[in-house]
């Protein structure tokens, strides 16, 4: 789950990270009032979970409250990267001396968190990593000890600070790590971290939370809904409500598999044969006839889909159950979309027999089935 800037900043603030004074608003009138409270001038920032907002024109500046109202009005309701701007953040302008980067991410290789810091802030850190990797300070956290004050000081020192500013920066590093751990963050980032006269301030904020950990953050349930609604397509949201693991793609061949790897491989194979998958739908392990039916119906109901490819490896999932689910879905929605099934494993013969009786194509290998389904929609 990706939090919006203002949500991330609220959480950062709770952990004691300095953030600029700001107001979140949904109208130009509120924007004007807020700018007034901030003393007239302000930054007006579109709240969307996308990178590169600045370049895309999502951050405007105003010198007076009326300018702020105008800026807010130009942003609100407009679209950026296909998403509608519904909220803007009205924030005090900072007198920035320098811009740093600070992030805590999951480090797969070291099986821990890694703190990344750079004196090159305000730009894409991946670019910095490619162009000037020596400008990135990395500290892999030992999970048994956590990030201690002396680690944070070392990081701040590596960025070239000493004395009071070093201590202030180290304090923020320590708190950002605390945010990462306590909020179960996949990524937490301050970019840029603004150096100002008497310290530092989080000028921007990113916080992506591990969906698997939401049971520890029940207060974020509502935020989660909102975040899903921004990130996912309508069909993806519907699939989520049905409990299906579904990703929308832009083709015309519906793809259903059991298991993430197998479903990915199915999509790859369809693509290799010149077909264009319309979706990725993983039924998961030990799917029941009911679940299979629900998945098949969901994909068939997609107007973009001209044919469906179901690829099931029977292990815990039984082939006869799969067949029954498919047949039931077809019975309920008697559309003229062809279905190609490839199944193998537990109760394979029984499943194939059921499908044949229902007039549904079955093939023995993934390759053959992929070829057939591509041919059915008119080939590559």
């Amino acid at each position: 789950m990706k939090l919006l800037e203002y949500q991330a900043k609220q959480i950062f603030g709770k952990f004691g990270i300095p953030t600029p004074r700001s107001y979140i608003v949904e109208s130009s009138k509120e924007a004007e009032d807020s700018a007034n409270k901030l003393g007239g001038s302000a930054a007006i920032k579109a709240q969307l979970p996308v990178g590169g907002r600045g370049k895309a024109g999502g951050i405007l500046f105003a010198n007076t409250p009326s300018e702020a109202a105008e800026a807010a009005s130009s942003l609100l309701g407009s679209k950026m990267k296909d998403l509608e701007i519904r909220k803007v953040l009205i924030e005090e302008k900072l007198d920035i001396e320098d811009e740093l980067y600070l992030g805590v991410v999951v480090d797969r290789r070291n099986k821990s968190y890694v703190v990344l810091a750079s004196s090159e802030g305000g730009v894409d850190i991946e670019e910095v990593a490619v162009k000037t990797p020596e400008k990135i300070v990395r500290h892999v956290v030992d999970p048994l000890h956590g990030l201690r004050s002396y680690h944070a000081l070392w990081i701040a020192k590596q960025l070239g600070y000493s004395g009071r500013k070093m201590s202030a920066l180290a304090d923020i590093v320590g708190k950002l790590y605390k945010v990462a751990v306590e909020m179960d963050a996949e990524l937490t980032e301050i970019n840029p971290l603004a150096e100002i006269a008497d310290g530092f301030m989080a000028a921007d904020a990113r916080l992506n939370i591990d969906n698997n950990a939401l049971f520890r953050h029940r207060d974020l349930a509502e935020t989660f809904q909102w975040s899903e609604s921004l990130e996912l397509s309508e069909r993806e949201q519907e699939a989520g409500e049905l409990g299906l693991t579904y990703v929308e793609l832009d083709g015309n061949i519906g793809v259903i598999g059991n298991g993430a790897g197998l479903t990915m491989a199915t999509i790859d194979t369809v693509t290799l044969h010149g077909g264009k998958p319309a979706n990725f739908l993983d039924l998961g392990g030990g799917a029941s006839p009911k679940r299979i039916e629900s998945g098949v119906s969901f994909v068939l109901s997609d107007p973009r889909v001209s044919a469906l490819f179901v690829n099931v490896l029977g292990g815990i999932t039984r082939c006869d159950d799969t067949a029954r689910g498919i047949i039931e879905a077809r019975r309920r929605a008697p559309l003229e979309k062809p279905i190609v099934v490839r199944m193998m494993g537990t109760n394979e013969e029984e499943g194939k027999k059921l499908l044949e009786e229902a007039g549904i194509d079955t093939l023995d290998t993934m390759e053959d089935a992929a070829e057939r389904v591509v041919a059915l929609v008119g080939g590559s």
Binding site: V106, R108, R109, K111, S112, Y113, E126, D142, P143, L144, V181, D184, E186, D210, N212, A213, F215, R216, T245, V247, L249, G257, N258, G259, A260, G261, L262, T263, M264, A265, I267, D268, T269, V270, T271, L272, P277, F280, D282, G285, G286, L313, G314, G315, I316, M344, G345, T346, T365, M366, E367
Partner: protein, 289 residues
Amino acid sequence: MVKFINEDTQVLVQGITGIQGRFHTKLMLEYGTKIVAGVTPGRGEQEVDGIPVYDTIAEAQEKHALDASIIFVPAPYALDASLEAIEARLDPVAVITEGIPVRDSIDILARAGLGDTTIVGPNTPGLIKPGMSKLGIMPAQVFREGSVGIVSRSGTLFYEIAAQITRVGLGQSTCIGIGGDPIVGLDFIDVLQWFEENNETEIIALIGEIGGDAEERAAEFIGQGGLTKPVAAYIAGRAAVPGKRMGHAGAIIQGSAGTAQSKIEALEKAGVVVGERPGDVARILMRMT
């Protein structure tokens, strides 16, 4: 180094009274795995398929000499279940549970490292030595004794390829699912090292997918001579969309990192033959024998 179970290994099932736990306990018993006890907090003094259930491992250990564990408990309880297994010095511990928070996995693995416990997973199908025993949830019928070692991040794709290997007549020595999460215990390199030393394994199938750089690291290891046995590989997710999680928590292309292309190139550079389609793996292996 990876310890493996054999016909004498006494296995504990954590979360044995749940639907998954019950189901797979039965299947593992049928396959010959020596399951001697189960644990579900609050369900002590019951039985599942004739296996006694305890509230804690400490109690189970008063009655049984336990070696290895397989964990089916729901994600919110998997942290403590894993730590309990680690503290009880069980090894290996296969964590089947899907959906464990990354923070918990980090914690589990750090503590496992203190006592040198091998954690397989989380989000793994487990491991199987065909014809002898399995500590996992894979369908037994697709495996057959043989000389191919399989290591995979995925579950069903792993069974798919194993089935094809079996069909072409090769069979498998040992097969290990390392798990589809971003952070897993046992990784490709650990398993490849073990295959290198394992006399029963002659050739290897490596099944990877998008996300992270585990395959690139494995390629580096192979390229540096860490593995001398021939490897055939398949990488799922060539057609995946960047930024979208493809089912597995770990299967996501972030920015330009973790693409199938990057993994395939790295593996090929290290001398691994990478198949275009899953079915290619068995064909390539046949050529290698």
